[in-house]
C-alpha cells in the first residue's frame, strides 16, 4: 500500500550554542490517503519540527519525507497549516482571512468564486454571519474555527495541525473536535495532528503515533478501532478508556518515568 505521507528514518538536530541538539532520531510515520494521524509525545520532543518538515519548511539532516509519492524538499501548494495561535490577519475581515491561501495558490480564480468557497466553509463551521467581522471581534474558539477554514480553503491534500485546540477551554475544544470530524466527512483530507491531549488523539485519530522523549522516535503506533462517525460519548466507553490507558502508559514511558509509582 502506498502512503500519502511517508516519513522514513528522519533524523534532525538543531545547532545551538552548546552543540547540536538532536530532536528527531530515525522517526518513521506513514499515513495512508484520507487517514487522520494523531501524534502525541512529551513536551519538547520535536513534534513541531515534524510539522515543519512535512510542510517542506525545513529539510531533515537525514531521512526522507514523501508526500504523494514525491520527495518533499521545499514548500508545496497542497498543504494546509493550522497552529495553536490562529494567526489571523487583524487588518482583514474573517472572510478575507479565509481567502488568503487562494490568493497565493489560485491567483486567477475569480474573487466571487473565492468568496463563495470561503462562505461555504465558514457556514460549515458555524461562522455564518461573522464573515465581515474583524478577528479581534471574535472569541478564541471562533478564531480557531476561521483558522481551520483558512487551512483547508484551497483543498489541500494534507492538513497539518500543531496543537490547534491547545489554548481553548475544554468545552470549546470538544465543540471543535466535532467540527473537525464534520469537516473531514464533508471535505476529505489527510491529516497530521500534533497534540498533547490524549482524548483528542483518540476521538479524532485513525492512528495515534506516540513519540519518545527527545530525540523523538516512533515509540508506538495505536490503531484506533472506533467507528468513523464518532460521538463524544465514545470516549466514555470501555474500548476508548482502554486505549487512553495504553496511551497514558506509553507517555509515561516516553517521559522516562516508567518505574515511578502513580
Amino acid at each position: 500500500m502506498t502512503h500519502l505521507i511517508d516519513i522514513k528514518g528522519v533524523t534532525h538536530a538543531y545547532r545551538t550554542k552548546s552543540g547540536p541538539l538532536p530532536v528527531l532520531d530515525g522517526l518513521n510515520i506513514a499515513v495512508p490517503h484520507g487517514e487522520f494521524a494523531a501524534v502525541v509525545g512529551p513536551s519538547g520532543c520535536g513534534k513541531s519540527t515534524l510539522t515543519r518538515l512535512v510542510a517542506g519548511l525545513m529539510k531533515p539532516d537525514q531521512g526522507e519525507v514523501w508526500l504523494h509519492g514525491e520527495r518533499v524538499t521545499s514548500p508545496r501548494k497542497t498543504v494546509g497549516m493550522a497552529f495553536q495561535n490562529p494567526v489571523l490577519l487583524e487588518w482583514r475581515s474573517i472572510l478575507q482571512n479565509v481567502i488568503l491561501p487562494l490568493e497565493i495558490v489560485a491567483p486567477r480564480m475569480p474573487q466571487a468564486e473565492r468568496e463563495a468557497r470561503a462562505r461555504h466553509l465558514l457556514d460549515m463551521v458555524g461562522l455564518k454571519g461573522f464573515e465581515g467581522k474583524r478577528p479581534s471581534e471574535l472569541s478564541g474558539g471562533m478564531r480557531q474555527r476561521a483558522s481551520l477554514c483558512r487551512a483547508i480553503v484551497h483543498k489541500p491534500d494534507v492538513l497539518i495541525m500543531d496543537e490547534p485546540f491547545g489554548a481553548l477551554d475544554n468545552f470549546t475544544r470538544e465543540d471543535l473536535w466535532q467540527t473537525m470530524r464534520d469537516l473531514r466527512a464533508a471535505e476529505p483530507f489527510t491529516c497530521v495532528l500534533i497534540t498533547h491531549d490524549l482524548r483528542e488523539a483518540v476521538f479524532l485519530g485513525d492512528q495515534v503515533f506516540v513519540l519518545s522523549g527527545r530525540p523523538a522516535r516512533t515509540q508506538m503506533v495505536l490503531k484506533v478501532d472506533l467507528p468513523a462517525d464518532r460521538k463524544l460519548d465514545v470516549l466514555y466507553q470501555p474500548r476508548a478508556q482502554e486505549m487512553l490507558h495504553t496511551l497514558r502508559d506509553q507517555i509515561r514511558i516516553a517521559q522516562g518515568r516508567d518505574g515511578e509509582v502513580h
Binding site: 515543519r52 510542510a55 517542506g56 519548511l57 521545499s74 514548500p75 508545496r76 501548494k77 498543504v79 494546509g80 497549516m81 497552529f83 495561535n85 494567526v87 490577519l89 487583524e90 487588518w91 488568503l100 491561501p101 490568493e103 497565493i104 495558490v105 474583524r134 479581534s136 471581534e137 483558512r150 484551497h154 497539518i160
Partner: protein, 254 residues
C-alpha cells in the same frame, strides 16, 4: 454630541492656555520685548500676513518633502535590518551614532558642502533628522514578526516579496505610524533649524530670525505660534493617514 465634545474640549484647552498666558504677562506687567502677550499677536500676524503665508508654505513643503524622503529611505533601511541579521548588526551602531550627533552641528557642514542650495539643505536636514525612528520601528516590526505568520504563506510556496506585501508590511503599519508621529515633528525641527541658522534663509525660521534682527518681538512670538499651528496640522494629517491605513489596530471599544 461625541464629535462636538471632541472638538470643544481641545478648543477650550487652547483658549484657557491663551488666557493664562495673557494673565501672566498682565500680572507681571512685562513689556513685549520680555514676553509678548497673545493680544500682541493678531496685529503682528495681520501686519505680515503675506509673509506668513509665503514663509509658512516654504516651511511646509520642505518639511513634507524631507519627511517623504525619510519615509522611503527609513522604510528601506528598516526592511534591510528586519530581514537580514548581518545588515542589522552592521547598521545599528552606525544609525545610533548618527542619531546621537546634535543636528545643529550639521548645519554649517551641510551649508559648506552644498553652498547656497538653501532649499536642498533644508529638505536634507528635515530628512536626516527624521528617518531614524522610522528605520528602527520598521526594522523591529519586521524582525519580530511571529514565524507562524510567515509559515502560513511560506508553506504554500509564496515568495518573500508576497509574504512581505501581504503580511509583513501591513502588520508593521501600526509601528510605522507610531514612528511617523515622532518623525513629523522632528522633520519640522530640522527644517526650522536650517531656516534659522543659515544666512539669507527663507521660511518661518527666517521670519523668526528677521524678527530678532529688527527687534520685533511680537513677530517672533507670532512665528512660534505659527510653527506650533503647522506642527499640529502635520501631526493630525499623520493621524488621519493612520486611521485610514492602520485603523484596524484600534481595538473596538466595548
Amino acid at each position: 454630541m461625541e464629535t462636538a465634545q471632541k472638538i470643544a474640549v481641545p478648543l477650550i484647552a487652547v483658549l484657557l492656555f491663551l488666557l493664562a498666558w495673557e494673565a501672566l504677562v498682565w500680572v507681571n506687567d512685562w513689556p513685549n520685548y520680555k514676553m509678548a502677550s497673545p493680544s500682541d499677536l493678531p496685529p503682528a500676524f495681520w501686519k505680515f500676513r503675506w509673509l506668513f503665508l509665503e514663509m509658512g508654505w516654504q516651511t511646509l513643503w520642505r518639511t513634507v518633502l524631507g519627511l517623504g524622503l525619510a519615509v522611503v529611505f527609513g522604510t528601506l533601511i528598516g526592511m534591510l535590518m528586519g530581514f537580514s541579521r548581518i545588515a542589522r548588526d552592521g547598521l545599528y551602531p552606525l544609525l545610533v551614532g548618527f542619531n546621537a550627533i546634535p543636528k545643529a552641528t550639521l548645519v554649517p557642514v551641510i551649508s559648506l558642502i552644498f553652498i547656497g542650495q538653501h532649499d536642498f539643505n533644508t529638505v536634507l536636514m528635515a530628512f536626516l533628522i527624521s528617518f531614524f525612528p522610522i528605520a528602527v520601528s520598521v526594522g523591529i516590526g519586521l524582525s519580530t514578526l511571529e514565524p507562524e505568520y510567515r509559515d502560513i504563506l511560506r508553506s504554500l510556496g509564496a515568495s518573500r516579496l508576497t509574504i512581505f506585501r501581504k503580511i509583513a508590511l501591513p502588520k508593521t503599519l501600526p509601528e510605522f505610524f507610531g514612528a511617523l508621529k515622532v518623525s513629523v515633528t522632528l522633520a519640522f525641527i530640522g527644517t526650522n533649524l536650517v531656516e534659522i541658522v543659515a544666512p539669507h534663509g527663507r521660511g518661518l525660521g527666517a521670519l523668526f530670525k528677521s524678527g530678532e534682527t529688527n527687534g520685533d518681538y511680537p513677530l517672533m512670538f507670532a512665528v512660534l505660534i505659527a510653527l506650533a499651528a503647522l506642527g499640529i496640522l502635520l501631526y493630525y494629517a499623520v493621524l488621519v493617514l493612520e486611521r485610514i491605513f492602520a485603523g484596524w489596530a484600534e481595538r473596538p471599544q466595548s
